[in-house]
Amino acid sequence: MSYDPIDIGIMFAKIALVFFVILTLAAYLVFAERKVLAWIQDRKGPNRVGPFGLLQPLADLIKLLTKEDFRPAGSDKWLFYLAPAMAAIPAIMIFSVIPFGSPVTLFGHQVQLQVADLNVGLLLFMALSAIAVYGVALGGWASNSKYALLGSIRGLAQLISYELSMGLALVPVVMLARSFRLSDIVNAQEGCWFIVYQPVAFVIFLISIAAECKRIPFDLPEAEGELVAGFHTEYSGMRFGLFFVGEYINIIVLGGLAATFFLGGWHGPLLPPVVWFSLKVLAFAFLFIWIRGTLPRLRYDQLMHFCWKVLTPLALINVLVTAWWMVLRG
């Protein structure tokens, strides 16, 4: 099979579309978070720039771009400059394996609404989320500041611990779908979503992804009360912006993955598939904002004990039970 120009053009168009939609959505997620938090706390939130404050993300962007790009004395120049990119790029790369709609036909070509349908898609997600740890760790270390270093060491330990429970929560999904390919996983849920078979795995996955995107109640790496701003204390301007936007890209991507693995991806009645997928992703984003407005921050030892003594054993037991169930059912 060879590629013709239309196929290559569609490929580039898909990549551009994903970049554009995710970056815009991430910027507006920041706005939505401020609005929803204000609503929860009985305030008004941003309402000055544009109608209902809708142009606030644009104003924030201009502010970040025109701020001084500051580098502290004694910091490690190259790693300090590289770290924000190392945090944001893996997050956006993960989206390349998520199917965000049913295949459509354009100009007589069958087009998968997914950038790359790898047969190891789920593992690519695990690999890239493991790589995202370096942004946090190197950013904090290269800043040459004790708060940043403490934040990044906490971040390192937290991210690699919760990656374990997240991976174990995905094992039953692979067992049910019998594939690592994300489009197969979505197609396997055409009749019944995996959340019905695997409620425990879903809860473990949800808690783990909250920890993976360093959100309250798991935002120990940037705990404002103790560490100023944690690993990105010394960053300013657009480099801080990259860390910040990376966090929201992470929310979108992990929400999309949770929808893909447990809520049937783009499957749903009546509405078109792309709309269903967007609704599910936005529902997860809202859930994360809601949790942030409701729960307090955990203590560090509670965080680690919860992962190693509760989530990981529970996920292992869940894998065993699923395996037995599948063997007995034949």
């Binding site: 047969n119 190891v120 370096y134």
Partner: protein, 170 residues
């Protein structure tokens, strides 16, 4: 796949990735600063993973990144940061006698590689991508007992490390 229609592109990619792997590994060895050495080594693992993917072994490619770049190097970095080892000015460059075993080993590897290359082994078939099912059957049916023994050994090592590292009763 694009690789089938343009083998030249695949070859070019192979040489670029191979060059990145070798250069990054050399830097990882020669770099004095441990954290920089880790970054170079992770770069090398990444390029190596892409090479595995090109050679029709996607599972190995992913494991290379998940296990080596994502777990082992992160633990190395954690230890370096915790123990505050990031002071290269205090450490001396290794002398000739410390280099010697490494040079001997590298020489032996190069000779073995030369012998292998002179035998002209066939390149793996791109169409026959090794599926995850094949790997699983191979590991857990054909070599199941060996895998169990190795995992028991790892468990013993973990328990031993835990025993050594635990605090004595007051």
């Amino acid at each position: 796949m694009c690789e089938d229609c343009c083998p030249d592109m695949e070859q070019t990619l192979f040489y670029i990735l191979a060059a990145v792997t070798v250069v990054a590994t050399v830097f990882a060895i020669s770099e004095k600063h441990p954290v920089h050495a880790i970054v170079y080594l992770v770069t090398s693992f990444f390029a190596l993973a892409a090479l595995f993917y090109l050679l029709a072994a996607p599972l190995i490619a992913m494991f290379e990144v998940i296990i080596y770049a994502g777990a082992i190097m992160v633990l190395f970095m954690f230890v370096i940061m915790m123990l505050d080892l990031g002071h290269p000015e205090n450490s001396a460059r290794p002398g000739f006698w410390q280099w010697l075993p490494a040079l001997l080993l590298a020489g032996a590897t190069l000779v073995a590689l030369g012998i292998l290359m002179s035998n002209r082994i066939s390149i793996p078939d791109k169409a026959a991508v090794v599926s995850i099912r094949d790997v699983a059957v191979m590991l857990f049916q054909k070599y199941g007992v060996a895998i169990e023994i190795i995992s028991m050994q790892l468990l013993f090592a973990a328990v031993g490390a835990f025993y050594l590292g635990r605090r004595g009763k007051q």
